[in-house]
């Protein structure tokens, strides 16, 4: 029973409301037209207060339209001023030792730089996505995790559980995070093969958006 209701609700939420601008304007236009005309019709029979009718439409219609349009935007998406600019260089050591990685030496392939931490909950949801996409684009794109305000022991345990596959660099003193203007983790930057930032994800990435950003840059 509740499953059935959940399904109805899902249908209402997903299909019931056209969330793109033209769809919303279309539905709203028709609704306003029908209500407006029926008001005129009723007024012929002296049943309706036309001032309230049209005054109400004049207030309600734009309000609903504006709110519906709001679904197009993610208020949490803050555009980075770094998009279109050269990626700040860093020279960071992997948390488990090994040779330091200098970003400016990695040109020629697009790079994905993911800022994360073990104490961050959304990082857990996006990590499998990053690992899978990194595996799929192995050899065609570089993936770097930059671990923000964390300890090597915890990172090792976390990666042991969640799986790794690409270098995880320790950002001692948060220097890289500051250079990139990281506001909170996770944040993910896409850098093209010339070292220019082309996109920034705030919050967890999903596979489709990540591939959409990367595929034009990856040589097939």
């Amino acid at each position: 029973m509740s499953d059935f209701l959940a399904r109805i609700a899902a249908a209402v939420t997903s299909a019931g409301l056209p969330v793109d601008a033209s769809g919303a304007a279309w539905v709203l236009g028709w609704t306003v037209g029908v209500i407006g005309l029926s008001g005129l019709g009723l007024s012929l029979r002296g049943k309706v207060n036309l001032g309230v009718w049209f005054g109400g439409i004049a207030v309600v219609a734009p309000l609903v339209l504006v709110l519906a349009l709001g679904f197009q935007n993610d208020p949490h998406q803050i555009d980075s001023p770094l998009v279109g600019k050269p990626a700040p260089d860093f020279n960071l050591t992997p948390f488990d030792g090994g040779a330091p990685v200098r970003l400016s030496e990695q040109r020629g392939k697009p790079a994905v730089i993911n800022f994360w931490a073990t104490w961050c909950v959304p990082c857990k949801t996006e990590h499998p996505v990053l690992v899978a996409v990194a595996r799929r684009l192995a050899g065609k794109a570089n993936f770097f995790g930059v671990v923000y305000q964390d300890e090597p022991v915890k990172i090792a345990a976390w990666l042991g559980k969640m799986g790794g596959g690409y270098p995880q660099l320790l950002d001692v003193g948060s220097k890289a995070a500051i250079a990139y203007g990281v506001y909170g983790v996770p944040e993910t930057y896409i850098v093209d093969s010339n070292g220019v930032i082309t996109y920034k994800f705030t919050g967890p990435v999903d596979a489709a958006s990540l591939l959409q950003q990367l595929s034009p840059m990856v040589t097939p």
């Binding site: 029973m1 509740s2 209701l5 959940a6 109805i8 609700a9 899902a10 209402v12 939420t13 997903s14 019931g16 409301l17 969330v19 601008a21 609704t31 209500i35 008001g39 009723l42 049943k47 309706v48 207060n49 036309l50 309230v52 009718w53 109400g56 439409i57 309600v60 309000l63 609903v64 504006v66 709110l67 519906a68 349009l69 709001g70 679904f71 197009q72 935007n73 993610d74 208020p75 949490h76 803050i78 555009d79 931490a117 104490w119 961050c120 909950v121 923000y148 305000q149 909170g184 983790v185």
Partner: protein
């Protein structure tokens, strides 16, 4: 197991609400006594189901039953019990469940108290309440289901609720109070819809309408202020109001409800403006739905936003239906309501009320436009912008000052026609008080014109409020002196409690006015004359701030079960006064950014407010503020809350207190009825 039980009660509530809505409207249309009886039974059944569903959820939370997904999301073995309890409304699904509980409480109370009156309009009202209830039960049964099972394997522990909610005891009080205000608007909405359907609005409907409106208005006032107080005590930026979209969302229904409370006196007194009153009542409810949408849709970014969820479109559909329903109903039925009376005199209390209403509506539109404008700009021009404090302050301050001025003018004028001489004798003395107040604050060093004007108006309105509040006392003291009782000041104080109690609703109203005036004084002063500085101190170092000497003694790091506190112990010296303050930062495992825990030292004159920006064992950076009269805001709100409560006390409870032959024969009743 608990999950299924909870689901059962939610579905029972949905069935009862839907059946009751249909039965209520049916009984309204057909005037069927049986239908009316069943509508009430369904109303009680709905309330019972919501109560039980909440009991089940609280039980699941307290027993840490992580097989319920909501408990797995917000529960944590490490959280203290009261925080576990707060988790009921700390996240989206639980907050809607709690919403259902409050709606259930209101519906049951209003059905019980007013169900026997107005058999021609109340079925419509109950039907409307239950239609709203149907929507919220639908949310609970579908898109915001709190009782879904947790993913297998069942987790052994959860992350705990949002850290912002764990940081201060006010978070236990602020959301429920605000919900009581928000949800309560459903009751006057139903009564208004009933009045429109039945085509009549008489005293017997106006009384419950005003009472319920006042109940939610009171909770809304206190809830909004508690939110400001929480922001002030926790967020650490030294302010209490930021014109954040969700703050605005709570202000909007407050503005229209304030207007409606005043408007509702006009049909009561003069038989005028019934349609307008109902319009404001309907608008107040619709704005609460708008507020719900703003908080829960993820369309607005704010400290209040719940996590991104897909119930936004569902709430928007409900909002659109409610808006269209209200507009169509108003347009079709408003002409039936117009009463016999009219506002005739331009200089009278009713025209002051009308002007007050226009200003409140203008302010509502101002805030509404400012809040939704960023959405509009982004949709059509693709730019992200936020309409900040300058817009709101520029627009709201003049309207607010005008309203404050009217708060003095309105009560000073009599109902009906006022003679020029009467107006002069009533208005001129308080006006002098206002001018003197303005002169005093200028002499005291205040220069910012709007704050001087606001304080002058506050003096004027305050003088009128106090005079009107005690007018019955003066009248009765005179009468009792004339009858041979004690005269003079002693006599005045002797009759005061009874005289105030005899007209307790009126007294309550003026107490509310006094509280609001105190709040405005606090807001005007603290926003215009706050001083602040950022200090960076090494361990043992001292620096001056205003006439204080601020020293950093040491840093302490305390690990608690659910958080780590980084505390900066500091000494603040002013003359011979030495004070130890310990502002802190709290770090929660779930959240990267630490949350402030400023130390606020309150005195009647000003607050000293110290907030940590960063802290390590050897150095601290603090933001330190001296803010005048902030405490007036919280006290004013408490006074307004007390006044509201006094107004709501049933007359029969007051009667025992008042019953005395001297009072019965006194002119108090006459004055009170003026």
């Amino acid at each position: 197991m608990l999950g299924q039980t909870g689901q059962f009660f939610v579905l029972l509530g949905l069935a009862a609400a839907a059946a009751g809505a249909v039965t209520g409207f049916g009984a309204g249309a057909t005037r069927s006594a049986t239908g009316w009886l069943w509508a009430r039974r369904f109303a009680y059944l709905f309330s019972f189901s919501m109560l039980m569903a909440n009991v089940v959820m609280v039980y699941a939370l307290l027993t840490h039953d992580f097989s319920v997904r909501y408990v797995a999301q917000v529960g944590s073995l490490a959280s203290p019990a009261y925080i576990t309890f707060v988790s009921l409304w700390s996240s989206l699904e639980g907050s809607i469940l709690f919403w259902g509980f409050i709606l259930g409480g209101y519906v049951a109370a209003a059905t019980w108290l007013n169900g026997e009156e107005n058999p021609s309009t109340m079925p419509w009202a109950v039907g409307t309440w239950l239609a709203v209830a149907t929507f919220f039960c639908f949310l609970l049964a579908g898109p915001a289901n709190a009782f879904l099972p947790a993913p297998v394997p069942v987790p052994l522990d959860g992350p705990g609720p949002n850290p912002l909610l764990q940081n201060h005891i006010l978070m236990v009080v602020h959301p429920p109070t605000l919900y009581l205000g928000y949800v309560g608007m459903t009751i006057p909405f139903g009564i208004g819809v009933g009045a429109l359907f039945a085509g009549r609005l008489e005293a017997s409907q106006l009384v419950p309408l005003r009472r319920w409106l006042l109940v939610s208005w009171g909770f809304l006032t206190v809830g909004i202020t508690l939110g400001g107080w929480w922001a002030y005590e926790v967020l650490g930026w030294g302010g209490y109001w930021a014109w954040d979209p969700v703050e605005n969302a709570s202000l909007l229904p407050w503005l229209t409800a304030t207007a409606a409370l005043h408007a509702a006196l006009l049909p009561h007194r003069r038989g005028a403006l019934k349609g307008w009153t109902v319009t404001l009542v309907l608008a107040s409810f619709l704005l609460t739905v708008l507020g719900t949408f703003m908080t829960r849709s993820g369309v607005f970014n704010s400290v209040h936003s719940f996590s991104q969820s897909d119930i936004g479109p569902t709430i928007l559909v409900f909002l659109a239906i409610a808006l269209v329903f209200s507009v169509v109903l108003l347009a079709l039925r408003i002409d039936k309501l117009e009463g016999e009376g009219a506002v005739t005199s331009p200089v009278s209390r009713e025209s002051a009320f009308l002007l007050n209403n226009l200003l409140f509506v203008a302010l509502t539109f101002t805030v509404l436009v400012g809040t939704t404008f960023p959405l509009l700009a982004e949709a059509f021009k693709g730019v992200k912008l936020s309409v900040g404090e300058p817009y709101f302050n520029r627009m709201a301050v003049p309207i607010g000052v005008a309203i404050l001025f009217l708060m003095g003018v309105g009560p000073a004028l009599p109902w009906g026609q006022a003679s020029g001489e009467r107006v002069r004798s009533q208005v001129v003395p308080p006006l002098v008080v206002g001018l003197v107040t303005a002169g005093l604050v200028v002499a005291f060093g205040f220069r910012e014109p709007w704050s001087v004007l606001a304080l002058g108006c506050a003096g004027f309105a305050g003088a009128v409020t106090l005079r009107e509040m005690f007018a019955p006392v003066t009248a009765q003291a005179r009468a009792s002196a004339a009858a041979g009782g004690a005269g003079g000041v002693g006599g005045w104080f002797a009759v005061m409690p009874r005289a105030l109690a005899a007209s307790h609703r009126r007294t309550g109203g003026y107490i509310v006015h006094a509280g609001i005036i105190a709040m405005i004084v606090g807001i005007a002063t603290s926003s215009a004359y706050s001083v602040d500085a950022e200090l960076r101190l090494a361990k043992g170092e001292c620096k001056p701030f205003e006439d204080y000497d601020v020293c950093f003694l040491e840093a302490r790091f305390v690990k608690e079960s659910h958080r780590t506190m980084s505390i900066a112990d500091m000494r603040v010296t002013r003359g011979s006064d030495v004070d130890l303050v310990s502002p802190a930062l709290a770090t929660y495992p779930r959240m990267g950014t630490p949350i402030g825990s400023p130390d606020v030292r309150t005195t009647p004159g000003y607050d000293l407010y110290v907030s940590v920006l960063s802290l390590d064992p050897e150095a601290v950076a603090v933001h330190i503020f001296q803010k005048p009269l902030v405490v007036w805001i919280w006290l004013g709100c408490a006074i307004a809350g007390l006044g509201t409560t006094l107004s709501l006390v049933p007359a029969r409870m007051m009667r025992g207190f008042v019953a005395s032959p001297a009072v019965a024969a006194s002119p108090v009743a006459e004055v009170a009825g003026k």
